[in-house]
C-alpha cells in the first residue's frame, strides 16, 4: 500500500542528515580515561539507555492517570453518594442516584434527543463526505485550494457556529425561513418543534465536520491502487460503478474510523445544543436537550453532582455499546466486499 506523504518526508530525511555528525562540534570523548572511570561512565550510559524511554513517555501516562483515568473511576464513587456542588460529599446512597435518573423523564428525553441528533448528523455527514471526497479524488485544477476550501468551517468554533446557526434558524426572522418562504413553504418553528430543532443542531455539526471527514476519506481513496480502476474500466464499469464497487470497499477501514470517531463525538454534543437559544437548557420543554447538557443542568444548575455522575457513567456505557454496535454493523454490511 502506498503511503501518502504530503509533508514531503524526502526533504526531511536530507534535513536530518545534515546534523548527522552529532558530535562534530564537540570534542570526542576522552579515550585515555582510567579504566575505573570508564566503567562508571559505561554504567551511567547503560542506565541512560535503559531508563530514558520510560522517562520520555512518563509525562503522558502521569497526566492521563490524573486527569483521565482517575476522574473516570472517581465519577463512579461520586455517583453512589449524595454530593452537592456547594456542600460536597454527603451520605452513601448506593444506586439511588441511578434510580433517580432512570425515573426522570427528562433523562429519557435527553437520550432520545441525543440519538436523534446523532443519526441526523452522522449519516448525512458520512454520505456527503464520501461524495465530496470522490469529487476531490480527481485531477482537479488548483487541487490544494479546493482541499483548503472544504476545510473552512473547521476553523469556526462550535460556539460561534451555534450562534450563527441560531440566527439562521431563527423562528421569526431567520434566513432559512425566509428562503423557505420564497419557495412557498410555511415558516418552521425551529426553536419549538422537536424534530426541527434536531435538524437545526445536526446541521451545525454537519456543516463543521463534513469537509474534515471528506479529507480523511480522500486520503484513503488516494491510497487505492490505480490499476484497480483501470481493470474495472476495462470491464466496462462507469465512473459511478467504479466508485461503488472499487473505491468504497477499498476504503472501508477508514470509513469505520470516521464512523467511530463521529459516534464518540456525536453522542457528547453539548455546545451546539447549549447555545441554540439564549436560555441554554435545551428548550422550554427540553426538546433538544442532549445527555451532556442534561448532565450539566443536573450538576451545575441543580447542583447535584451525585446524579450528574450517574448520568456520566450511563453515557459512558452507552457510548461503548453504541461504538461496538457500529463496529458489528459495518462489518456485517461490508461483509460481501473485501472480506
Amino acid at each position: 500500500m502506498t503511503h501518502i506523504h504530503p509533508v514531503e518526508p524526502a526533504g526531511d530525511v536530507t534535513a536530518t542528515t545534515s546534523p548527522a555528525p552529532v558530535s562534530a562540534g564537540e570534542p570526542p570523548p576522552p579515550r585515555r580515561a582510567g579504566p575505573t572511570r570508564l566503567t562508571a561512565r559505561q554504567r551511567l550510559s547503560r542506565w541512560d539507555v535503559r531508563l530514558s524511554p520510560y522517562l520520555y513517555i512518563s509525562p503522558f501516562f502521569i497526566l492521563f492517570l490524573v486527569v483521565g483515568l482517575f476522574p473516570l473511576g472517581y465519577t463512579a464513587y461520586v455517583s453512589v453518594h449524595e454530593w452537592s456542588l456547594i456542600g460536597g460529599k454527603g451520605e452513601f446512597v448506593g444506586l439511588d442516584n441511578y434510580r433517580q435518573v432512570f425515573e426522570d423523564r427528562y433523562f429519557w428525553r435527553a437520550l432520545r434527543n441525543t440519538v436523534s441528533i446523532f443519526l441526523l448528523s452522522s449519516i448525512p455527514q458520512v454520505l456527503i463526505a464520501l461524495v465530496v471526497a470522490g469529487l476531490l479524488d480527481s485531477q482537479l485544477r488548483g487541487r490544494t485550494l479546493w482541499r483548503m476550501s472544504v476545510l473552512i468551517p473547521f476553523v469556526v468554533a462550535p460556539a460561534a457556529v451555534a450562534l450563527i446557526f441560531g440566527n439562521l434558524f431563527g423562528d421569526r426572522y431567520g434566513l432559512v425561513n425566509a428562503a423557505l418562504d420564497l419557495v412557498g413553504i410555511d415558516a418552521i418553528a425551529w426553536h419549538v418543534n422537536t424534530l426541527a430543532s434536531h435538524v437545526a443542531i445536526a446541521t451545525m455539526v454537519n456543516w463543521r465536520w463534513t469537509g474534515y471527514n471528506a479529507l480523511i476519506l480522500l486520503a484513503a481513496m488516494q491510497a487505492v491502487p490505480r490499476d484497480l480502476y483501470e481493470s474495472a474500466a476495462l470491464d466496462g464499469a462507469g465512473r459511478v460503478r467504479q466508485f461503488v464497487s472499487v473505491t468504497i470497499p477499498m476504503i472501508r477501514p477508514t470509513m469505520l474510523f470516521v464512523v467511530i470517531t463521529s459516534t464518540i463525538g456525536g453522542l457528547q454534543i453539548f455546545t451546539e445544543a447549549r447555545l441554540f437559544d439564549n436560555v441554554g437548557l435545551g428548550g422550554s420543554d427540553r426538546q433538544w436537550q442532549t445527555v451532556t447538557l442534561y448532565l450539566w443542568e443536573l450538576g451545575w444548575r441543580l447542583r447535584n453532582l451525585g446524579t450528574a455522575s450517574a448520568v456520566a457513567w450511563l453515557l459512558f456505557l452507552f457510548i461503548v455499546v453504541f461504538a461496538l454496535v457500529n463496529l458489528v454493523l459495518i462489518r456485517r454490511l461490508g461483509g460481501g466486499g473485501k472480506g
Binding site: 450563527i164 479529507l215 455546545t271
Partner: protein, 272 residues
C-alpha cells in the same frame, strides 16, 4: 481517478464550498449592520459599515480583550507543551527499544477512544480543592500532553529517522537526551508544526470545560461569546460581530498554514 474532471465535478464542488462559506459570510453581514438588520424583509447582500461600531460594543459589553488574551495564552501554552511532551514520547515509542513498549503504545491508542469529557465532575472537584477553578491553570493542565499527539508523532517519526543515525550517534558517545535533541527534534519539525496547529485550534475552540472551570469574570473567547448571547434579548449584530472577531485569529492561522493543516489531516488518516 485518471480522467480529467468535467463541469459537473467543478459545479458540485463549488456548491459545497459556497455552502461552507455562506454561514460565515452571513455572520459578517449581520455583524456589520445595525441591529435591525435581521428584521428586514429582504436581507442585504453585502457587508455594511457598522462592523467597528459593533466590535466596540462587544468590547464594552464583555471583557473581550481579556478573553482574547486568555485564549491566546491557554492555546499557546497547551500547543507548545503538547508538541514538546508528545515529540518526546512519540520518539521513544518510534525509535527506542524498551520492555513493554508495544503494550504501552496499545494503551495510548485505546485511551483515544475514552471520552474523557465524562470525567469532568471529579476533575472539577479536584480543581476546586486545589483552588484552581477560576485560574487558567485549570484549563491548561488537562491538555498539556495528549494521546492523539503521542500517536501522531510516533507515526511520523517511525519513518522520518533512520535507525542508523541513532546508532551512529550512540557509538559517538552521545547521551540519550542529546540524541533526542540533535537527531529527533530536527526530524520531527514538520509534524510538530502540524501538531502545534491542531492543538492550538482545539484548545481555542473548546467550550465545555472552560465553561465549567472558569468564572464569568475570567472568560476565554468562547465563554465571552456565550455571555454576549445569554441576555434576555439577543442582539444579533453584536453577537455575530463577536463571532466574527473570535474567528479572525483562526482564519489568519488557516490562511497562513491551511496547506499544512490539510496535509496533517490526510496524513493522520492514511497512517492511522
Amino acid at each position: 481517478m485518471n480522467r480529467r474532471p468535467g463541469f459537473l465535478v467543478y459545479g458540485l464542488l463549488t456548491a459545497f464550498v459556497v455552502g461552507s462559506a455562506l454561514p460565515l459570510y452571513w455572520s459578517l453581514i449581520v455583524g456589520s449592520h445595525e441591529s435591525d438588520v435581521v428584521t428586514r424583509r429582504v436581507p442585504p447582500l453585502w457587508p455594511g459599515g457598522h462592523f467597528f461600531d459593533n466590535a466596540q460594543r462587544v468590547f464594552e459589553t464583555v471583557e473581550f480583550w481579556k478573553a482574547l488574551a486568555n485564549s491566546l495564552v491557554v492555546s499557546t501554552v497547551c500547543a507548545t507543551s503538547v508538541v514538546f511532551f508528545c515529540t518526546l514520547a512519540g520518539y521513544a515509542f518510534a525509535k527506542l527499544r524498551f520492555r513493554g513498549s508495544t503494550a504501552l503504545m496499545v494503551f495510548v491508542v485505546a485511551t483515544l477512544a475514552v471520552p474523557t469529557q465524562l470525567g469532568v465532575i471529579p476533575l472539577f472537584i479536584q480543581m476546586a480543592k486545589l483552588g484552581w477553578t477560576g485560574h487558567l491553570w485549570a484549563i491548561m493542565v488537562p491538555t498539556l500532553v495528549t494521546a492523539f499527539g503521542v500517536f501522531f508523532m510516533r507515526q511520523y517519526l517511525v519513518d522520518a529517522i533512520p535507525d542508523e543515525l541513532i546508532e551512529a550517534a550512540r557509538v559517538d558517545g552521545c547521551s540519550m537526551i542529546r540524541i533526542f535533541w540533535n537527531v529527533a527534534v530536527p526530524a520531527a519539525r514538520p509534524a510538530a508544526a502540524i501538531l502545534w496547529l491542531f492543538t492550538f485550534m482545539t484548545v481555542w475552540t473548546d467550550f465545555f470545560w472552560p465553561m465549567i472551570a472558569l468564572p464569568a469574570t475570567n472568560p476565554t473567547v468562547q465563554i465571552a461569546l456565550q455571555q454576549l448571547q445569554s441576555g434576555y434579548y439577543v442582539d444579533y449584530s453584536l453577537v455575530l460581530a463577536a463571532a466574527v472577531l473570535s474567528t479572525i485569529p483562526l482564519l489568519v492561522l488557516f490562511v497562513l498554514t491551511g496547506r499544512q493543516l490539510v496535509a496533517g489531516i490526510m496524513q493522520g488518516a492514511v497512517k492511522g
